[in-house]
Symmetry: C2
Subunit: 114 residues, 2 copies
DNA sequence: GAGGATGCCTAGAAAGCCGACATATATACA
DNA sequence: TGTATATATGTCGGCTTTCTAGGCATCCTC
């Protein structure tokens, strides 16, 4: 029974992808791996979320794609952050931090009202 | 043009509602106000999000509703946290904190790779 | 040759949020 | 008296995002 499936990404996936790509242009598979590594296995980016997100971000002009050879010598689609993507990402990060603060305010509010 | 509408709640609404109700059983309108106050106007809970969420949480047995008179002497539907709701909320809060940590790990990762 | 890792993709369903709308009462004010 | 505003609840349709579950292809190792 039980089966308490926890949703992991909650609308942060786009921002996380932009950030990883800002660190270093990468292909989808590597982006997912890096997110999992950096987050110490908290994020498990499913391919059914990853690739639609990449196409979305490319459509919006935030990422630019180019086919290249990966480290293993195979064809892979490398995504790079565009200037437009940078202009999107920075405020999004600020907004995320404000969101965290706001949620923290609520969660840390005392349960007893005086 | 411009108009960068930022989505504020991102899947945290349920948890926030549970937390506010854990502080003090309240009706919907007051919950929205309190969230806005505590978060210093960062959260603006829209009615089209709030009431479906309350019904959802009640259907799942996490909240229990009761009609009472509000402070202004009008009929209002007061929601209280159930034991089941408590058992839902606590791990959700822990998970949220882990999510914040994980996102922070990514966002604070250096953009230059050595 | 079988399996696993690497790499890309899509389709369908479910869920959540928002904007807009509808409704009703109490209060304040002109 | 009439009107606007705050209080209070709700629905509906559309949009976006996510997940599950599949498909396809190559390369390497056993």
């Amino acid at each position: 029974m039980g089966e308490a499936k926890i949703e992991l990404l909650r609308g942060t996936l786009d921002m996380l992808i932009l950030k990883v790509v800002a660190m270093c242009p990468s292909h989808g598979y590597a982006i997912a791996q890096r997110l999992q590594q950096i987050s110490k296995d908290f994020f498990q980016v499913h391919q059914g979320s990853l690739y639609p997100a990449l196409h979305r971000l490319e459509d919006r002009g935030w990422l630019q794609a180019e086919w290249k050879n990966s480290e293993t010598g195979r064809e892979a689609k490398f995504y790079a952050l565009t200037k437009k993507g940078r202009r999107q990402m920075d405020p999004e990060v600020v907004n995320w931090e404000r969101l965290c603060d706001a949620v923290g305010q609520v969660l840390r509010a005392p349960e007893e009202e005086s």
